[in-house]
Amino acid sequence: MRSSANADRVAARLRRRYAAEKRFRAYGVAAIIIALGFLTVLLASIIADGYTAFVQTEVRLSLDLDPSVIDPSGKRDRADLSSADYAAVVHNALLARFPEASDRAARRRLFRLISQGADLEVRKLVLADPSIIGSRREMWLPMAASVDQLIKGNMARAPEKGGQFSERELAWIDALQADGSLKTRFNKWLFTGGDSRQPELAGLWGAVVGSFYSLLVTLALSFPLGVATAVYLEEFASRNRWTDLIEVNINNLAAVPSIVFGLLGLEIFLNVFELPRSSPLVGGLVLTLVSLPTIIIAARVSLKAVPPWIREAALGLGASRLQMVTHHVLPLAMPGILTGTIIGMARAIGETAPLLMIGMVAFIVDVPATPLDPATALPVQVYLWAASPERAFIERTSAAILVLLCFLAAMNATAIYLRKHFERRW
């Protein structure tokens, strides 16, 4: 009797233990699902918000390039042409399309539908070829951001649901849409323009160039310095207090918050060395400090992975230590070092906080021509646009994030490719 009661107890306990085992396993699966679920939601919401920004609503207008409006003097002087009243050309075209908008209020509403930058497009066309003055031209011009949002379905039509347009304006928009002269086309402004207060004209190109210059400076400095440090620590230095100190410093710098590097940059590069504020040069210097520890640590790992007999063989054949390193060890470790460098660069391209400290957050319309011009960077542009209240900027912020993520994905894919195809294992 007793033994069977015991057996029952053991069996019950075993069941409990197995249930606990299953539960524990389920927790692990749940944790992974939660983390990956968050990743999915994040990416999905950004893609859902952002993909529409890659197209922009444009209107086809038949422009009368009237010489009496553009160039009353008739001299075709470039200065005159570039300061001419192209807005009037655009407005006349709109009025010709909708003659019923005769009173002042109606005109103002009509003109509000088209982007304030539409006249710049006309100017570009005329300046490129002044001989077209006097002719008629069909042209696609950007609509205002509010119309764009309406067409993309991000804004309700009815005013009580947040729509911004009156019956009349909606009728105009519908009329344009009905005869095919209102279409969403590829958003070239997003990829060619600098920043703008008008969402429909705001572009990423200035930020991309700013990021490119910063990364160029970072790469030019952190790759040689990082490799040199790693080579010194792995191949030349003996273990003593001094090298211990260097190692502790590197490990700590890898974990120092990046904003502290920004404070260092503000104080040393801007206030002491008086380098130009907001410039990609200073941004690159700060990002060098941010990414150096990553590169050093990765380079040391790949130097360590080169087997010692390579070194012994080189030394045995009469190579000097430096020849051994430059002719044999470094080439073998290079794929790993490059992988680490790309990962460091990927960290640098997404870094925002230190750039805020050195003033790369200004509203800058011009695309920087040199690393000394004021500029922003891609993640900073995301931050700036995210602070803008317009619905159209939410869409563009998401698009900017998608562009940034594409760069990151490309860099990481390169790193993985290098690792898979060139890394040797012994």
Partner: protein, 460 residues
């Protein structure tokens, strides 16, 4: 542009001189190969170093002194009424002069004094660049000649070149130390100025943070108050929420990856988890503002809890997700490093897998896991973009996760972005906050790295 040309000319000269040096050494080698000490290319490098290095050093030194000398010259030439300005106004004037000179466009000049000074600054800078270029190029020529002349079969060119390279290696390895020194000095210098005006005890223990100092001395609320306790508690609150999200999820997924998952699942799930760490923090910030905070606010409304749209909860949640991969990958490493003999022992005693993990593997890996968690905490405290975008700006002393709090990093950013006066306590307080941030994260890192290293030694 001019500068790049100068650098390019120097590089071309060095390259040319390298070929000449190598050629000369080869010619010597033809006459008697056994007498040449090094390979011919080392003679080339030797001459190229003599040609390029002095010029580069001169340019570096020149550029780092130039702003100060120019400034002194321009200030010295200012009319007496401008020289009599207080130091702060004078430095503003000099900033304007520099900007005017850099743009070359004097239309926006504020005063004729500034225009005149900017003209002078431009001329001086052009002269200075010309002088630098001439001296650098002549140094390069003289160095190149000297190098060429000293080529002889007995010259130990390789040893000399290698010594120079080694100096470069040593110098770049000290950069880490100089960076740390630079951080400490720049933070300390400005913080000491700050503590001159605001006592340290008020900063560390004061309960009220409102750094808005007035423009005029007689204005109401002219002196801001700088009690940083609300910032510390705000940072702590958000970090605690983040860790409450990140530690369980990170640790459990690490355990599953290391102990249960088959290699195929692991090879897919691990990189995906690490993608969370690769996403820039500004993206998390945007997501927190756009999706998480409104979602929580609506949720709170529907169940009757008021949740601020800049709540610590939303910020902490998103930050926690960002930190998951740090904890999971570090814990994964230490759990995998626990020797299998311990597991086999536990299995032999009849333990199930989860019992083995809970009672044998985790206790053995605990120091490493704690080290990883400490690193994650330091990461959470120093995280900037998420909190700048999603957390509040005004300081509240509260432990309510539904309320809006501000953090140390948010304040640093809001104090330093935009116009700054470099002697107002408002700007200086950002550096004091930065110093606190640096010291706290440094302490956490040192402890964490120590723990992790100790642990590694135990099982190696």
């Amino acid at each position: 542009m001019q500068f790049l040309t100068l650098v390019a000319v120097l590089a071309l000269m060095s390259a040319a001189v390298y070929r000449m040096g190598r050629g000369r050494a080869q010619a010597l080698a033809v006459t008697g190969v056994h007498r040449l000490h090094s390979l011919p290319s080392y003679y080339g490098y030797y001459v190229a170093l003599w040609c390029g290095l002095p010029a580069v050093l001169l340019i570096a030194g020149w550029l780092s002194c130039e702003p100060y000398i120019l400034r002194a010259l321009v200030v010295g030439a200012l009319p007496p009424e401008a020289k009599a300005l207080p130091a702060a106004r004078l430095s503003l004037l000099m900033n304007e002069v520099r900007q005017l000179a850099a743009s070359g466009d004097f239309r926006f000049s504020s005063s004729p004094i500034a225009t005149a000074a900017a003209e002078q600054y431009r001329v001086l800078r052009a002269n200075s660049f010309g002088a630098m270029a001439v001296i650098a190029l002549s140094l390069a020529i003289v160095g190149g000649f000297y190098g060429m002349r000293s080529i002889s079969p007995k010259l130990r060119a390789r040893n000399r070149v290698e010594a120079a390279v080694k100096v470069f290696l040593v110098a770049s390895s000290t950069l880490a130390i100089f960076t740390t020194i630079g951080i400490v000095l720049s933070l300390l210098f400005e913080s000491l100025l700050f503590f001159d005006k605001i006592p340290l005890t008020q900063f560390l223990f004061g309960l009220d943070w409102s750094p808005q100092t007035a423009m005029r001395a007689d204005q109401v609320g002219a002196s801001g108050s700088f009690g940083a306790v609300p910032l510390f508690t705000g940072t702590l609150l958000i970090s605690v929420i983040a860790m409450l999200v990140a530690v369980p999820i990170g640790l459990l997924s690490a355990i599953y990856m290391a102990e249960y998952a088959n290699p195929r699942f692991r090879s897919v799930a691990k990189p995906l988890l690490e993608m969370l760490a690769g996403i820039p923090t500004v993206v998390y910030g945007f997501f927190a503002v756009l999706a998480v905070a409104p979602f929580l606010r609506n949720l709170g409304q529907s169940i009757g809890i008021p949740i601020a749209s800049e709540s610590a909860l939303a910020t902490g949640l998103v930050m926690g997700v960002m930190i998951i991969p740090f904890i999971s990958s570090l814990s994964d490493d230490v759990i995998s490093a626990v020797p299998d003999s311990l597991r086999h022992g536990a299995y032999g005693l009849g333990a199930t897998r989860s019992e083995t993990i809970r009672q044998v593997v985790i206790p053995a890996a605990l120091p490493g896991i704690i080290g990883g968690i400490l690193l994650a905490v330091s990461r959470a405290i120093g995280e900037t973009m998420i909190v700048v975008m999603a957390a509040g700006l005004s300081a509240h002393l509260t432990a309510n996760p539904f309320a809006s709090v501000t953090t140390v990093t948010v304040q640093i950013v809001s104090l330093l972005v935009g116009d700054q006066e470099f002697d107002s306590p408002k700007t200086l307080s950002a550096f004091a906050l930065g110093l606190v941030l640096f010291l706290v994260t440094l302490a956490l890192n040192v402890v964490a790295l120590h723990v992790v290293r100790k642990y590694r030694e135990k099982y190696d």
